[in-house]
């Protein structure tokens, strides 16, 4: 953005405005000096020496000069983020001579522990420290926080995040020193054993708590009136909570608990609970059932308010049906499962809304009364995540059962999402399962739709967006009846399909991607099974050389390559049974072998 000189001058001379400055390998002292002296604004300082985009070699002398130049404006520092340290501990000579009287946020990554003393001393020299947020990933820095100099700053903190990669060897007696702490996050922090009557002021001020591999013994018998979100992952000393007084969080609406032992959950009182996320690592149903049973009292007691439940527990269908029957107000249910047969189609049929005279409910789990009144009648989102989905022969039958749930809930809209471990999951995207329709193309915007034909119509399974990067996208079925690819106009790149071991993958390839084999692709079960193929705004080169044995209808439109006809398109594409074709490229049509075509739409604008 361009501004006039006068406005530029006003901005640079206004102390309240923040300026961001980063020291990297290539940063020059003169540039830093000019930046510091050229403005009166507050400074958000970052030190990031290992920036991969910075190809320069590290120069210790230059780095020291830059930092010292930056330190000349230390009294104006508002935040300091030490992201990656210089090699060989070259930060020990760093000095901060001015008091850090305006510093509000510090973030110290692993490797900066030796610098923490300088930092804390400079903060402590301020008459009234303004420091409110501290993020520490260095164990030395954590230990220094409980030293006398460090304790000077803990009273003002409202946010503390301790993100250690491995557990500290010695207990860090830090909890009694926080009087204003609202957000506390700790990973792999070793805490001492606190007596039940030990004064812990943070219990009154905490609003958000995240503990991973940290002792929860200190929570026993306490009331946390302000906590709204609480995450406890792999807690230590949970037996103390189980044996001692309960933990009460009257305002907590979002609670996460991941542990192999769920019995301590019975000691948590959460009267405002709306969202519950529970994971148990027990590896079979026999061991998982008691854990789910331990969860039931909590779920039952909060049934009126609980609207979102995420469960990752190996358990029996009957017990799970029982537990879900306790929460009729549930709106969001996410089940994280090991494999497609972890829950049978009969289990999912319990979610289907049925008429009283519907005699097809005979195979449903539970009593007939449960079947007529479906599980979770108010559900508007059902998410299923499978750690292993591929290599399963009966996953298509499961999809049919899931589509039946969507179709049965005619008075509400149920989003049914399917995901499984793999590259697609890392992008946070998922497949959506819809009820049977006559025309899947009327679903609306989706990059990819696969369809399974049933007597009631085609069940569409759609992917809202295909990742923009060169990553394999495993398709949920080896075979499908319907395939629609429709990409947004802004994206380019050619499509590839390949059969890897036991499943079909789709990829988008770009010119800068690694070269691919030039030989024709192998026969794909997906292509052999398709009855309808729709390609819109996607490069159709992937069709070349394939035979679509069962294809009846085909549309390839808005797919013309702006750079000319791809050489691969001169390879014949066989569609021996296809009767209806819509293409907008005569060159492409010329490569189609269509002995049975009866209806053709063709665009002649070349």
């Amino acid at each position: 953005m361009l501004v006039c000189r006068r406005w530029n001058s006003i901005i640079l001379s206004t102390p309240g405005i923040h300026s961001q400055v980063t020291i990297r390998r290539a940063t020059q002292k003169e540039v830093v000096q000019a930046f510091i002296h050229g403005r009166k604004s507050r400074l958000d300082v970052t030190v990031d020496i290992n920036d991969e985009k910075d190809g320069s070699d590290f120069n210790a002398e230059s780095f020291l000069a830059c930092f010292m130049a930056m330190a000349e404006g230390a009294s104006r520092w508002s935040s300091l983020r030490l992201i990656s340290p210089p090699p060989h501990g070259d930060h020990k000579a760093l000095q901060i001579l001015q008091p850090l009287e305006r510093l509000k946020v510090i973030n110290v990554a692993r490797g900066f522990g030796g610098f923490i003393e300088q930092l804390i001393t400079a903060i402590s020299n301020s008459s009234s420290p303004n420091l409110t947020t501290v993020v520490l990933a260095d164990p030395v820095a954590v230990l220094y926080l409980v030293q006398p100099a460090g304790l000077h700053i803990t009273h003002s903190l409202t946010t503390l995040k301790i993100q250690l990669s491995k557990r500290t060897d010695v207990p860090v007696d830090i909890l009694p020193h926080f009087h204003r702490l609202e957000i506390f996050e700790a990973r792999h922090l070793c805490l001492p054993f606190y007596l039940p009557d030990a004064p812990l002021p943070l219990t009154y001020t905490l609003q958000s708590l995240y503990l991973k591999s940290v002792s929860v013994q200190w929570m026993a018998g306490h009331v946390f009136p302000a906590i709204r979100t609480c995450n406890i992952i792999s807690p230590h000393h949970v037996d103390i909570i189980q044996a001692l007084q309960p933990v009460t969080m009257p305002s907590c609406f979002d609670f996460t608990y991941h542990s192999n032992n769920l019995h301590p959950l019975t000691r948590f009182h959460l009267p405002s609970l709306q969202m519950l996320n529970v994971k148990c690592g027990q590896w079979n149903v026999w061991r998982g059932n008691p854990q789910l049973a331990a969860l039931c009292p909590l779920v039952a007691s909060e049934a009126k308010t609980l609207t979102s439940l995420i469960l990752d527990i190996e358990c029996s269908e009957q017990l799970l049906v029982y537990m879900l029957s306790l929460v009729p107000a549930l709106e969001i249910l996410e089940l994280r499962l090991a494999r497609p047969n972890a829950l049978s189609t009969a289990f999912f049929q319990a979610f289907i809304v049925r008429e009283l005279n519907d005699d097809s409910a005979s195979d449903i789990v539970g009593s007939p009364s449960q079947a007529i009144a479906p599980l979770c009648p108010l559900l508007d989102s059902l998410r299923l995540h499978y750690r292993r989905w591929l290599r399963s022969p009966d996953n298509k039958a499961l999809i049919v059962a899931l589509a039946g749930i969507v179709a049965s809930r005619v008075n509400s809209i149920l989003d049914l999402e399917l995901s499984f471990d793999g590259p697609l999951d890392s992008f946070g995207t998922h497949w959506s399962i819809h009820g049977p329709v006559r025309k899947p193309q009327n679903l609306g915007r989706a990059d990819l739709i696969l369809g399974i034909e049933t007597p009631h119509g085609t069940i569409p399974v759609s992917l809202p967006s295909v990742p923009y990067l060169y990553v394999p996208i495993p398709l949920p079925f080896e075979e499908a009846d319907y395939l629609r690819l429709c990409r947004s106009r802004s994206r380019s790149g050619s499509l590839e399909f390949r059969f890897t071991h036991d499943h079909t993958e789709m990829m988008i390839a770009y010119d800068y991607d690694p070269p691919r084999p030039t030989s024709l692709p192998c026969a794909l079960p997906l292509f052999s099974a398709l009855r309808v193929l729709v390609v819109e705004r996607a490069d159709p080169s992937f069709l070349a050389g394939h035979t679509f044995h069962k294809l009846e209808r085909c549309r390839v439109v808005e797919s013309r390559n702006p750079y000319g006809v791809s050489p691969t398109l001169f390879t014949e594409t066989k569609m021996p049974l296809c009767t209806r074709v819509d293409v907008d490229d005569p060159y492409l049509l010329a490569t189609f072998k269509l002995p049975q075509v009866h209806e053709l739409a063709l665009n002649f604008q070349i």
């Binding site: 549309r555 049509l589 269509l594 739409a601 604008q605």
Partner: protein, 170 residues
């Protein structure tokens, strides 16, 4: 165009050039029954529908008694739909359409009408139907959304919501 389409009985032509010659296309489609053209045609382009001799000279240009054997391209053609064409702009179009229907009938053609769609002159689509009889009247039919749906359900063809034009159902 793919020349190996002897069994084709429906052809939807999009973005056809105004004065493009339809004869090479129609010659390769002996089984064609329905033709939909989504662009307006020059009047001269319609000569492809007239009976013609082996030299592709249409029956209109031949003097009587020449003894030439005339034949029809696409003898099974039953329906021709032309979209984006306003017949009132080109009165001579009416005459050639009448000639086509009349002359083809003499050769046993099942073609009984041309359906001309004009989507742009008024809000909503307007369908002008030209019947084969002595008076050759034009009938205006205004299509609304409901009639679109009926058409979609009944004929298994799709009227595109955006363009109001024909779209092959896939």
């Amino acid at each position: 165009m793919n020349a190996n389409l002897p069994g084709l009985n429906l052809l939807h032509i999009k973005d056809w050039p105004l004065n493009g010659d339809l004869i090479p296309i129609l010659r390769s489609l002996p089984s064609l029954e329905t033709l939909i053209i989504s662009t307006s045609l020059d009047v001269a382009s319609f000569r492809a529908f007239l009976p013609m001799d082996a030299n592709e000279t249409s029956g209109l240009k031949q003097t009587s008694g020449e003894g030439q054997t005339l034949a029809l391209l696409c003898p099974k053609l039953r329906s021709v739909q032309i979209e984006d064409q306003d017949p009132s702009v080109k009165p001579e179009l009416i005459h050639i359409l009448k000639d086509i229907v009349t002359l083809r009938a003499a050769y046993g053609s099942p073609l009984k009408n041309f359906t001309v769609f004009d989507f742009w002159t008024e809000p909503g689509s307007e369908n002008e139907l030209i019947e084969r009889d002595e008076n050759f009247p034009m009938e205006n039919i205004v299509l609304d959304e409901e009639s679109d749906e009926e058409l979609d359900e009944e004929s298994d063809k799709e009227i595109c919501e955006e363009s109001k034009g024909f779209k092959l159902d896939i």
